[in-house]
Symmetry: C2
Subunit: 136 residues, 2 copies
């Protein structure tokens, strides 16, 4: 684990206690925390970390392309550390749980030329909706 910290170090990211804690909290599979949840977990390891720093750090990680912002259309954005591995999301309409999933084929291929309106496509995000076993 901690590919994330590894990669950041290699990119010459200035490492501070706060940043390390944020990266550690985010690390893992099927992790999709809100900024506030990241802050809460960070505080338990480093009590003096401020919300602003968490927001700033998350924003930076997104800009660096190391973390993905997921707008789940509920209230707050969620942050996904698996920016490097292509995947899509499956969200439970009941409890809001999120799983990373890997559909067959490239979603982009499903959009025919006459539906591209002259756009140059760079990718596609797919959000599957359904009910998880617990909510059903």
């Amino acid at each position: 684990m901690s590919d994330l910290l590894e990669r950041l170090r290699m990119r010459g990211w200035r490492l501070t206690a706060q940043r390390r804690v944020v990266a550690e909290v985010l690390d893992g599979d099927h992790v999709h925390l809100t900024a506030d949840e990241v802050h809460a977990r960070a505080v338990s390891r480093l009590p003096e970390i401020s919300r602003a720093t968490v927001y700033n750090t998350l924003g930076e990680l997104v800009t660096l392309g190391e973390v993905l912002e997921v707008a789940t259309d509920g209230r707050a954005k969620r942050y996904d550390p698996n920016a490097h591995r292509a995947h899509q999301h499956l969200i439970c309409s009941g409890c809001g749980a999120i799983r990373d999933v890997h559909p067959l084929g490239d979603p982009v291929a499903a959009l025919p030329a006459d539906q591209r309106f002259g756009f140059t496509l760079s990718g596609a995000e797919v959000t599957y909706r359904g009910l998880c076993p617990d909510c059903r």
Copy 2:
């Protein structure tokens, strides 16, 4: 046009000047306005309409299933009046323009059984990203 108003009337929706104006503003293809844009356009037809009423009305239309909420992951949510006709979105990474598109096949079919984690799928939203002719 104005299928929307038509349908609402038939569902026994209490019709007021404010609600009619909101429905009229939303009507059409490739319409994806933010709540604030809806309010701005509504004001030009009915100066005394309030922001709260626009929000309440939009929320209601979403609950009724007549309008779709689209979280484009920029700041504000957008509202799409074509809830009745299945479609996906193509968004320009440059200017944020949104087009309704119709991909081939059912996106849900692309998710294999072993990637469904016991969920009962109800649908999928696809957001294609790219650059429009103007931004390229």
